[in-house]
């Protein structure tokens, strides 16, 4: 049977040692008759590798992928280039078939990678300390908020903006629902900036959560907002884009207390949204409230430098209900990929990537400016993402047309606007100004020819509605 080892002889000898007649005897002695399943599980029959590989290949081919189509989708997940060296390393069994490094002596590989990852994250963010990763960007944002609430006992207010990723806010709502905290979502200004948030901060505010560049691709006045928060005694949490740091100022250099990011863009495949990599860094003073695993340096009994999991007294397996979080896994394999990716990038590679994103995004905006049908929404420059309004008010039709022509042209923002299918409550909606709009991301992977093709497909699409 597939991956089983025991031959009939093995089974016989093993049962003899146990002193049982059959495996059923062992099981039935423990599992009461009344709860036993009396039939076989109703699953598809066992399938061999050849047949299953063929079937799954057909299934995979029925999906439009960033390989089969040209991808301009972003919104928190990006089609950045992944060097082959990243896959080479991450496909080594010693990494992907090992577990949490409970025995440091036989886990120095993973532990050193975690320590290097943490160091890279601090270099990237300009903050003092990083954990070894969390589930994803969205849940990491919420963990940062929970951490802020725990740091600031008595303060119950969490302030964020309506141009922070709607799904990230959705998670926040779900978590805060069950605890004693209040979420305030402050409307952005007409250009999609969150400066108004500054006026909402008060002495009840535990933290301010902003995204920079934000969900609609605009930059925020991070330093100003962080300064205002600090003045009120609140912490500032920034959702950042790792690639943007090839050019933009680092969170730590702008007064941010906790920086979180979706690490997918650092060498991790799109994978329909997961597994992804939650990056979290914070100021050193906050370290004992940091959720998740942390690797630290120490020496062994012979004085050799080595690495271990540390500060475990924050964790659930020791502290149980008093832990900083219930998280006991981390995304080591994805953190490894990010570590290899950043090692290959180096400062120059990261900067070059950001520069290519900037130039190609600017070029894409120009290409679209040639059609009266489209309007670029927002007043600021873009790193790699921007919003386009379809004056023909037929975004769904437009994007379907593009997909039929091999282009994933953008993300329809209508469902996220008030009343939309993904905006079940006001706190997670986008401002209504993004109705009839779509979000476009242009990474360094998009060639001029692809951008031209994207522009052509969009500009030549039939308009079903009129202005």
């Amino acid at each position: 049977m597939s991956y089983l080892f025991h031959t009939e002889d093995d089974r016989r000898e093993m049962l003899k040692s146990i002193g049982a007649e059959s495996i059923d005897e062992i099981i039935n002695a423990q599992v009461p008759e009344e709860v036993r399943l009396k039939r076989a599980l109703d699953l598809p029959p066992a399938c061999d590798e050849l047949t299953l590989t063929a079937e799954m290949t057909r299934l995979a081919a029925r999906n439009a992928s960033a390989d089969s189509h040209v991808c301009f989708l972003g919104g928190g997940a990006y089609d950045h280039f992944i060097p082959a060296a990243v896959d080479e390393i991450a496909s080594r069994g010693e990494y992907y078939t090992s577990y949490t490094p409970y025995q440091a002596e036989v886990s120095q590989g993973n532990l050193q990678v975690m320590f290097e990852y943490e160091t890279l994250v601090t270099q990237l963010t300009g903050l003092g300390v990083s954990n070894a990763s969390l589930y994803d960007g969205g849940s990491a944002a919420t963990e940062a908020v929970l951490m802020s609430l725990a740091m600031q006992k008595g303060r119950k207010k969490v302030i964020t903006s309506d141009v922070v990723h709607p799904q990230y806010r959705d998670i926040l709502v779900a978590y805060l629902e069950n605890i004693d905290a209040e979420l305030v979502v402050v409307p952005s200004d007409e250009n999609g900036h969150s400066k108004p948030i500054m006026d909402a901060v008060d002495d009840q505010t535990a933290c301010v959560l902003i995204q920079h560049p934000n969900f609609v691709g605009q930059l925020e006045s991070v330093a100003e907002i962080a300064a205002a928060a600090k003045q009120s005694g609140a912490l500032t949490i920034q959702v950042f884009d790792p690639v943007s740091l090839g050019r933009l100022k680092r969170p730590g250099d702008m007064g941010v207390d906790i920086a979180i990011a979706e690490g997918q863009s650092l060498g991790n495949p799109l994978a329909y949204g997961g597994p992804y990599l939650g990056i979290m860094a914070c100021r050193e003073e906050l370290v004992r409230r940091l959720p998740g695993r942390i690797a630290g340096q120490t020496t062994d009994r012979r004085g050799k430098r080595c690495w271990v999991l540390t500060l475990q007294t924050r964790e659930q397996h020791i502290r149980r209900e008093k832990a900083t979080s219930n998280i006991c896994s981390n995304q080591t394999l994805l953190a490894l990929r990010a570590t290899v990716h950043l090692s290959l990038m180096g400062p120059k590679g990261l900067q070059e990537t950001a520069d290519h994103c900037i130039a190609k995004t600017a070029y894409a905006k120009e290409v679209l400016a040639q059609s009266d049908r489209f309007e670029i929404v927002g007043d600021g420059p873009s790193l790699k993402e921007f919003v386009v309004r379809d004056q023909a008010a037929d975004v769904a039709g437009l994007l379907a047309h593009a997909r039929a022509h091999g282009v994933l042209a953008g993300i329809d923002l209508n469902p996220m606007c008030p009343g939309g299918s993904e905006a079940s409550q006001a706190s997670i909606a986008l401002p209504s100004r993004y109705e009839n709009c779509f979000l476009v991301a242009v990474t360094e992977k998009r060639s001029r020819a692809e951008i031209d093709r994207w522009g052509k497909v969009l500009c030549e699409a039939p308009a079903m509605a009129t202005v």
Partner: protein, 496 residues
Amino acid sequence: QATQLLFELSREGRRAHRLGDLDVPAVDASDLFDSSELAESAPPLPELAEGDVIRHFVGLSTLNMSVDTHFYPLGSCTMKYNPKRNERIASLPGFLNVHPMQDESGLQGLLQLLYELQGMFAEISGLPGVSMQPAAGAHGELTALFVAAAYFREQGSDRNVVLTADSAHGTNPASAQMAGFKTKTVKSNCDGLVDLEDLKAKLDDKTAVFMLTNPNTLGLFDRQIAEINRLVHEAGALIYLDGANMNAILGITRPGDFGADLMHYNPHKTFSGPHGGGGPGAGPICVRDFLTKYLPGPIVTRTENDNATGDEDRYMYHLTRPSEDSIGRVRSFFGNVGVLVRAYIYLRTYGGDGLRHVSEDAVLGANYLLSKVKHFLDVPHGDRCMHEFVASATRLKKEKKLSAMDIAKRILDYGFHAPTVYFPLVVDEAVMVEPTETESKQTLDAFVEALFRITEEGEELIHEAPHSTRISRPDDVTAARRPILKWSDAAGESAS
């Protein structure tokens, strides 16, 4: 040979990744952006050549034990063989390079897979409502408790207590606390099962959920399950099943059939993972009908396709947004799809009958080890178990100053990963062994032989173990007291 850090290998001016010349007009960032927004220089990442990077990380990998290299009987973690076909298939571009915000019409293949997987999870658990969004087991626990909380909230109930077993994983109480519940601990009886008297005493009209692990962390199936089921439900509470130990009961019994109202799976354990050095996992949850509407979404549904041209497009698959009553999201996007795809391939590979054989062989292997180990290590909870068992080194500690930790460290020298030690907390000097179904009798015999030899070895040899690894017995205390959590140029550290 020294194990240098990336940062120590770095040399200014060295490079690996480069992009080509821009094929669009260049833009000077400082023209486009306000200077206050721009960094003065790129982040101070290390500078390396591609050859540096490969040799560094290949070298580090060889310092890990892993399922692919060693027997890894880490109790409660189900370190089974990770099939290579899963890796190959999950890496097909049509699965790997699909964007999470794509339109469902271009995702029919993947959605079909996820739809069928939902059905398989429901069938194996006996619980019809499935959400695959949670990213890990603990995340699934938390999500299930959110669901329970939403349910009681809608009922207008003020039940706010979660009961957990004293043998439970630490995540149980931690998740309960995060979901806004108070926690109380239910004791184990001398058989290692739920102490029914203690359970009765703690069940009241404030009890929301009893979190049960069955088989529990001692590897024992609680034969009082029918009684537990009755007691908890009569008290008006729900039963949550921690699915960490599902590898013992696939096709043998179903949580939904023995009383669980909610549960999570650990596909990275039960459905062959892999574990990825501690992640990623996934934590899909299954719930009873009346709890389905609270699940986070989206969920995959299907309709008949009127324009079908053959078997392939007989159905249309849809991403259905959660209902108004949904707890909302617990993470961004759909879930850990890469992990779920592997679980699907695993389930299709075994089929229903095969899955039962998986559990049977897991149980057989654990009982076989138990039958051998009990001759030289105490096994406090009897000579039968499900997929794992817990021995105790208490006697050895008294007689020879040989602790569970010493055994764990010394077994590394024999080329085996250590069992889990000091868990569950209800067993003193616990040594928790889970062989899984994918180890040969030869390997199990060699492991028993090594374990036995250790009990006969000299104290000093063992207290200084391991001897064959690059490092031995790191100083955890200093690590926690004076944490060094990143490399620092200024520290003038040197490799040793």
